[in-house]
Amino acid sequence: MIQYNTFQLNNGLNVIHHHDNSTQLCALNILYKVGSRNEDPTKTGFAHLFEHLMFGGSENIPEFDLALQTAGGESNAFTSNDITNYYVTLPANNIETGFWLESDRMLSLDFSEKSLSVQRNVVIEEFKERYLNQPYGDVWLRILPLAYKEHPYNWATIGKEISHIEHADLDQVKSFFFNFYAPNNAILVVAGNISLDETKRLCEKWFEPIPRRNTLIKPYPQEPKQTEARKEHVYSDVPVNMIVKAYHMGGRLDPDYYASDLLSDILGGGKSAAFYHKLVKEKRLFSELDTYISGDADPGLFLIEGKLSKGISFEVAESAILEELEAFKNQLVSEKVLTKVINKTETNIQFGDISLLNRAMKLAFAAFLGDINLANTEIDHYLAVKPETLQMIAKNMLVEENCSTLYYHAK
């Protein structure tokens, strides 16, 4: 059970306090409610590039990392389709340094041309390192536009193409900052060995003076229901063939979200799962076969991804997957299997909660979704899943009309 308190500052900043006196550390986690889904389709990759700029100096503090490291702290950040999340950990007695740093870069960046030009290059190298210079690295860049025709999940967080990053300019940086990086568009979690009173005092001192801003979140198109199977073939210099099947599923608050998550675990999670046991081991059609969900706030994807064994054709491999899915639709999952995946989920949650930072992020993300209590009640949602629900979801979701398939051919 993660205990927490919440309060709101006058400028609209929502604060969550989580006390843990078993640690000597303190963490600040700030979630800004902006991700790649809020980008202009002609200027993609910007939310992520912007995340890099947040470390390039703020109005009063030229070097973010230097100031933090001097106080014994560490920080990092990530950008997703839905959010941009920053975190700092420090020795608990130095946490005020974190407040000073985070509040200053929420107040204003120093918008330096040099920082922009360097980080553009760094992000372009990141693009190459992770997506272009790796076998199968571009799978995600290809499956998204196939699965999403309208919704901005159409492009990956890194961006559609390098040229979008090359063209980012300082005006874009400024308007993005003053629109999205507002106290009223953020959630701050203060976690660790710090009292509620001290948290309030520091929040009022450092964050409350930052003015509320007019944040405009432009509506973006939702994805219409897919009605026919989509297929794409790619040929590349990779050693073995790979297949990716992406099915549309519910968003993070959809009542079926938890069941879909369990379904992916039942089919493809671990060595006792049906896919591994039957298709990797028994029939030896794949060398690897996994299932996972994208976990996005808006309706996301349920994915099946497999590397084919040498000499196995796409036809044979794919029909074997479909056969397993059919079998699943025609027979209720046993209580034993259901208990197994719920137990695994419980273990994952418990192990995840060991980390102070994980707890802080979980609280922030739950609050972002609009139900902070989710940080504690997730397990109840999993426990409530019935075999009938799983079967119904499989029947509705795991159909070809709802699927985009990528055939990645070894040249």
Binding site: A71, P91, V118, N121, E125, T347, S355
Partner: protein, 425 residues
């Protein structure tokens, strides 16, 4: 009163680090169980450390295959039954072969330990290495190998270790297609008998658990029949081949670069200070390499230097994936940084920042049960004292720019360096 945001809030430097107490229980003569309780979650990690690392194998791929085949079936359970029986309790069982040892780990909730422990121990003590499962694993690892061989960073790493330790050194024992083909049930069973069944080094239990679990684990291992290793360690010869090596990969948009040399191990008196020097040079985000090559010039997404101490040989290297067009500039900058840290004393403020950061990072790594267990393993493996980590406070306080410069000249000498580049000509 208006807030002056230009003024840094006061902060404290870390004056004390502590390593928590842990219990040592003798399971059998000379065989210890180390139990370390920490954290708030009722979870358990149980590690069995075996003498079954790369250094013990007489045939390449033997250590890796033996370790990964342990979950593939026992006298009474086939692979699926074994997986199902642990999965049912939401537990995980992992085996890994490392350079100097192999570790089998059970992760589970405390409440399920009594049910999971017998299954875990059965997998370790009654493994049968079925031919069919072995055949599947061989095929699948071949497929993984083919993917790895397409990665510049993999080729670079492989070549680096072969040049730095010599082709025949176990640390350079990268698997080839032929090695996989030569693996058979017999070679694995031989290795298993000697280095698992009679090769247990020690056991670590970490997490938050009731003390009765210590006895439960100790008894179970005593009864399992696993024997302590009595092997004396062999002498390994290192045959370095310094020089510049280039592997052409014409289709790449980036080049992988790794350069380095042999270095000292944890028991050397200079080691902790050298670790600190390495931090300043390339070991954290505020390091010289990162600041110059990423944050100032934007030539890479990341660049690090690493001091990698093993029990039978250590090396210090710099690792990056770099923009091919500016590759030569990047490499030249790395050498410039090496020369600079040798020629000029480190400025006081840079030293202070690095010191505070380093102590802060220790505070973090000494927080949480599993991170602590990892530190404890280092202490046990290297026969260090429990004050090894806490002593960093006084060591860093005594370290001066002058002494770091001496170390740089002693250990960052560019003679005898191995430099490997993989990429487009």
């Amino acid at each position: 009163m208006t807030l002056d945001r230009k003024i840094t809030p006061p902060f404290h430097t870390i004056e004390k680090l502590s390593f928590p107490s842990y219990q040592i229980v003798e399971i059998n003569k000379g065989l210890n169980l180390y139990a370390l309780r920490a954290g708030t979650q009722a979870v358990i990690r149980l590690d069995l450390i075996f003498d079954a690392g790369l250094i013990s194998q007489i045939q390449i791929a033997q250590a890796n295959f033996t370790s990964s085949m342990l979950s593939e079936g026992t006298k009474s359970k086939n692979a699926l039954e074994l997986a199902e029986s642990l999965d049912y309790f939401g537990s995980y069982f992992q085996t890994r072969a490392h350079a100097d040892d192999a570790v089998a780990t059970l992760y589970c909730l405390e409440k399920h330990l009594d049910k999971c422990l017998p299954i875990f121990l059965e997998a370790l003590t009654a493994s049968v290495f079925p031919e069919k499962e072995l055949d599947i694993q061989k095929k699948n690892s071949l497929s993984k190998l083919l993917v790895n061989e397409k990665k510049n960073s993999y080729l670079c790493k492989k070549s680096y270790y072969q040049k730095i330790y010599g082709n025949t050194h176990p640390y350079a024992a990268f698997i080839s297609k032929e090695d996989i083909q030569q693996i058979n049930k017999n070679t694995l069973e031989t290795f298993y008998q000697q280095y698992y069944l009679s090769g247990l080094k020690y056991v670590m239990l970490s997490g938050e658990f009731n003390t009765d679990k210590i006895n439960l684990v100790s008894q179970a291992i005593k009864n399992s029949g696993l024997q302590k290793n009595e092997n004396t360690s062999c002498e390994l010869t290192i045959e370095s081949n310094p020089g510049n090596y280039f592997i052409e990969k014409s289709d790449s948009v980036q080049s992988a670069v790794r350069m380095g040399k042999l270095s000292i191990g944890r028991n050397h008196t200079d080691f902790r200070k050298l670790q600190f020097l390495n931090l300043i040079f390339g070991g954290y985000f505020g390091s010289r390499l990162m600041k110059n090559i990423r944050e100032d010039k934007g030539l890479t997404y990341g660049i690090y230097s690493v001091l990698e101490p093993n029990l039978n040989g250590s090396s210090w290297y710099i690792d990056t994936d770099i923009n091919t067009k500016n590759r030569e500039t990047g490499i030249a900058e790395i050498y410039k940084e090496i020369e600079k840290i040798k020629a000029e004393p480190i400025p006081q403020n840079e030293l202070e920042t690095a010191k505070n950061y380093y102590l802060g990072s220790f505070l973090k790594s000494l927080d949480g049960p599993f991170s602590l267990a990892d530190r404890l393993k280092i202490i046990i493996d290297n026969k260090l004292s429990d004050s090894y980590y806490p002593e960093f406070v006084s060591i860093l306080n005594e370290t001066t720019s002058a002494s770091l410069q001496d170390l740089a000249n002693k250990y960052f000498d560019t003679e005898n360096i191995v430099e490997v580049v993989v990429g487009k000509k």
